[in-house]
């Protein structure tokens, strides 16, 4: 029975039943007795001095329980929201980490910066009071784009950081790269923008704080991907609550994509306020409020050059990027455009010399942090656009130039010139399959057919690698992480043989209740239905680092595999005693401990019962009970890779890009549940397609006002805008974790922006277009077509 519901089975998800019936329990659904409602007063200005905050009139309104400002937090010793992953820049320069108080003090630094917290009996009363809080601002000039932030004399976001630079970082060998460029037969160049995005999980963020005075204990319900980290950062750094007096619960969470893997001000505010008023405090973010308070993603401006020899072989790569950090550092801010970006610049290629410089800068915009893919989509976009430019300029087929430079399968483990060592992969195999599935060779005919209908057709190709399975603690801490990145899992066997699994990871769409149970079902040979998976409650799960960076299966799943192995080992001791045989003679298979070569056996249930009813039990040498916890710290990242192909058709009259076909061939390592993996890739690809064709976070460059601040203005991909994604896997198992898994959560988003834009550029190449910035909106594409002097036949 283990094999039917173990690793590799496309079994349906356990968690579905509560979601399809509306029984999911999200933070906004939490109702506690005597609960109050909180609303935040947020800055309408991108940059201003706080002259005064007058709460007198607001406090007198009906239903108001309390109003707090930054001064109240300061008086109470509330700390700053911490950055958990600073980096070290050139010449040992440490990231600058300015204070980030949960309520602004002295200055506001972005539209949406929280200024006051209003707590009232009802939402309506809280809103009314928030409108009555009088804040006097001395408005300052705002610095919005990364280029503006670096101009001489630019407004300083922080008075003590006059150049607006958080860190000036580098990786690779500058001299070796310069030397490679002196030998180049051709140098391809590109300048590009990786546009700012808003992650927009469908469930807006929410938080409920509750202080139990009788026990001196705080509970925070929050929409978080990593409740244990919130507990640690908020408890230890911000609110100074001892860890045993703080419980953080993340129940059902409606999507994360990175947006919910940061410690946010609102979490600390409702927790702190619940202690002040000794009543529960609930805050539920509105969508438009989320646009100005959720950390954003991407936002790079880059220049890069690729040196090639006369055969199109890559000799060297030089990258210079400016990355936006926003108005404060979010939890992982500086790590994203550095370690998760520069270290990926080898891609799947044998480029011998690479040098990447990244300047992370402060601006008067919402903080920027990880968003699905986090650094790796940006690296892939830059590299794969640049490779296409090189291929076009040198007249080499785009698949061929990639093949000539690809790491061959027998070169793994492969040490890149930018720190990472890839353990396994076969990107060439992925490429061959993608080319065959997408009928790359047949494209010219399809292009002709489109042309006959007056349409421009293009095909685009991308190969990629990502580093995920975050992370080996030893490497991560060397790269700046202020904490380990191992994972924990507990297998709790009940007296009757059913199992509760406690995971330190979280699940907010990934289906871990199903896949974790598959790992255990396969290991212990017990039915999938006999396993329940628990996560997201720091009082139930001892510790864990949470879910992000495609780490849950590779790190959490490996911890779970270890814990199940420990259960099997202890069970073997019990069975050996029961069967009066030597431990070494007991084999465990399909849920049965058997004396080798005999039919004498005890089932897993027999052993579980014996462990809890220890009559016939070796109590003198073995503790009763059957529960094991394991911690797993990987030795390396995992490195999914693959090849994606997109085909588009452009209507030159309207500039509308239609995505006709999308083929993804990915090496995600061992697949635990093919149905779930395909679902992750469908969703990931479409999220990247969103960036490529639709989504754009637009600020007014003068005022710092967010212009795309709602679903009316920010174009989320809809059902009628995307095709089916054709998913194939081409597996090389990870060589260093017990399951061979690599991770599948981000691959789609990493590859698809570059793939789609490569197709769009190909469709426009006959007009001399070499690059299109994202999103390739109808307006942008139409202008490119018009600027090229093309007039549609019908219009002429």
């Amino acid at each position: 029975m283990g094999n039917e519901t173990g690793i590799g089975a496309s079994i349906l998800r356990k968690e579905d039943l509560r979601f399809v019936t509306g029984k999911g329990q999200y933070v906004a659904d939490v109702q506690l007795p005597n609960m109050t409602v909180a609303v935040l007063v947020r800055s309408p200005h991108a940059h201003a001095r706080l002259v005064s905050i007058d709460t007198t009139a607001a406090a007198a309104l009906p239903g108001v329980v309390a109003i707090y400002t930054g001064a109240d937090l300061a008086a109470d010793g509330v700390g700053t929201l911490p950055c958990a992953w600073p980096v070290t820049g050139k010449a040992g320069m440490a990231s600058r980490e300015p204070a980030h108080p949960p309520l602004a003090q002295g200055k506001v630094r972005h539209v949406g910066d929280p200024v006051a917290l209003v707590v009232a009996e009802s939402l309506v009363e809280a809103r009314n009071a928030a409108e009555a809080v009088v804040v006097e601002y001395d408005v300052l000039p705002a610095v919005v784009s990364v280029l503006a932030a670096l101009e001489p004399g630019a407004t300083a976001v922080f008075d003590d950081i006059p150049d607006n630079v958080c860190v000036d970082w580098e990786v690779g060998d500058s001299a070796a790269t310069d030397l490679a460029f002196t030998k180049a037969a051709h140098i391809a160049r590109i300048s590009l923008v990786n546009n700012r995005l808003v992650g927009n999980p469908m469930e807006p963020r929410a938080a409920v704080g509750d202080y139990d005075r009788s026990r001196g204990k705080y509970t925070l319900w929050t929409t978080s991907q990593f409740p244990h980290i919130v507990k640690l950062l908020m408890g230890n750094v911000v609110l100074h609550i001892p860890q045993h007096k703080l419980r953080v619960v993340s129940p059902d969470v409606g999507g994360g994509f990175g947006v919910k893997q940061f410690h946010y001000a609102e979490e600390a505010l409702v927790t702190w306020a619940s202690g002040k008023i000794a009543r529960p405090v609930k805050w539920v973010c509105e969508r438009s409020e989320g646009f100005i308070s959720d950390a954003h993603g991407r936002d790079h401006v880059s220049e890069a050059q690729l040196a090639l020899d006369e055969h199109g072989k890559f000799l060297g790569l030089r990258v210079k990027t400016i990355a936006n950090m926003g108005g404060y550092l979010s939890t992982f801010g500086p790590n994203i455009p550095t370690n998760l970006y520069g270290l990926l610049m080898a891609g799947v290629y044998t480029t011998p010399a690479i040098y990447c410089e990244v300047k992370a800068v402060f601006t008067n915009t919402i903080p920027v942090d990880a968003y699905r893919g986090a650094g790796r989509p940006e690296a892939t976009f830059l590299l794969e656009r640049l490779v296409d430019v090189a291929a076009t300029e040198m007249g080499i087929d785009r698949a061929e130039i990639r093949r000539r430079n690809m790491i061959p399968p027998d070169a793994y483990p492969y040490q890149t010139p930018v720190m990472l060592e890839y353990d396994s992969g076969d990107p060439g195999g992925c490429l061959d399959r993608a080319l065959a599935t997408a009928d790359w060779a047949g494209f010219p005919e399809r292009r002709k057919a489109s042309a006959a209908r007056g349409k421009f057709r293009g095909i685009g190709l991308t190969t990629y690698v990502e580093a995920c399975g975050l992370a080996p603690s030893r490497i991560a801490t060397r790269l700046g992480a202020r904490g380990g990145l191992f994972e924990s899992a507990t297998v709790r066997v009940h007296p009757t043989g059913q199992v509760t699994v406690l995971m330190g990871t979280h699940s907010h769409g990934q289906g871990h209740e199903t896949t974790c149970a598959q790992i255990v079902s396969g290991k212990l040979g017990i039915p999938h239905d006999n396993i329940e998976v628990v996560f997201g409650d720091t009082d139930r799960v001892q510790f864990g680092l949470g879910t992000y960076g495609s780490r849950s299966a590779a790190v959490g799943g490996s911890a779970l595999s270890k814990a199940a192995d420990k259960v099997i080992v202890k069970g073997r001791k019990i069975a050996a005693h029961m069967l009066e045989a030597a431990e070494t003679d007991i084999e465990f298979r399909d849920g049965r401990y058997t004396v080798r070569g005999t039919d004498m056996a005890k089932t897993f249930e027999d052993v579980a019962l014996s462990a809890h009813y220890p009559v016939d039990y070796p109590l003198e040498v073995l503790e009763p009970g059957l529960e094991e916890q394991a911690f797993y710290d990987p030795v390396n990242f995992t490195f999914p890779c693959g090849a994606h192909i997109a085909e588009v058709e452009i209507d030159p009259e309207t500039g509308v890009v239609e995505l006709l076909r999308y083929v993804a061939v990915d090496d995600v390592g061992t697949v635990i549940n093919p149905m779930i993996v395909a679902g992750q890739i469908h969703g990931g690809v479409v999220q990247g397609v969103g960036q490529a064709l639709f989504e754009d976070c637009v600020y007014d460059q003068e005022t710092g006002q967010l212009l795309s601040g709602s679903f009316m203005d920010y174009c989320m991909p809809r059902a009628d805008q995307v095709p089916r994604v054709e998913v194939e896997t081409h597996i090389t198992p990870c060589t260093h974790n017990p399951l061979g898994v690599k991770g599948c959560g981000e691959v789609g988003t990493i590859a698809s922006p570059a793939t789609v834009i490569n197709a769009v550029v190909d469709a426009l190449a006959h007009l001399g277009v070499m690059h299109v910035d994202m999103p390739a909106s109808p307006n942008r594409v139409w202008r490119l077509i018009a600027d090229a002097g093309f007039t549609p036949a019908k219009a002429s």
Binding site: T21, G22, Y26, H682, D720
Partner: protein, 157 residues
């Protein structure tokens, strides 16, 4: 304002505020949290319910206007066993985080009842007002087609 309506096949009498939305009445007043709120501009469709048999975004309906109305939410779609559309979402992996799911299912049921000949393009067009961030819509579309076929086979559509 006092109103009487039929909610999930049961008569309900409620005293609502003039500004109260159907979504607010369901969630905050009646504790029916299966109807989700994912935006504030009536774009996302997470709050879709049936009003007098037709799908509506419950964030666009004033509760005070519902005297005498019949409302069905995700909680009232089935009793004990899954509705064929719920079953189809489960079988086709048509959901991930589950937040958009109640609105998707309610919208899909209305589509299946209205459309005698469901098509992939038709489903995609119909679901244009329901945003999902997780699935890329692919398995949702498969689920709606399968659910519509099952509803037809069961005589519901």
């Amino acid at each position: 304002m006092k109103i009487q309506l039929t909610l999930n096949a049961r008569p309900v009498a409620v005293d609502v505020e003039p500004h109260e939305l159907l979504s607010e009445m369901l969630r905050d007043r009646l504790g029916m949290t299966g109807t989700h709120v994912g935006c504030d501009t009536s774009q996302c469709g997470a709050c879709v319910v049936h009003l007098d048999g037709a799908s509506v975004k419950s964030c666009t309906v004033l509760a005070a206007s519902l005297d005498g109305a019949t409302v069905t939410t995700i909680e009232g779609l089935s009793d004990g066993t899954l509705h064929p559309m719920q079953q189809a979402f489960h079988e086709n992996h048509g959901l991930q985080c589950g937040f958009c799911t109640p609105g998707m299912v309610m919208s899909a049921v209305d589509y299946a009842r209205r459309e005698p000949a469901p098509t992939e393009a038709g489903v995609r067009h119909w679901l244009e007002g329901n945003i999902c961030r997780c699935t890329g819509y692919q398995n949702i579309v498969s689920a709606v087609l399968a659910g519509a076929a099952a509803m037809r086979a069961g005589g519901e559509a």
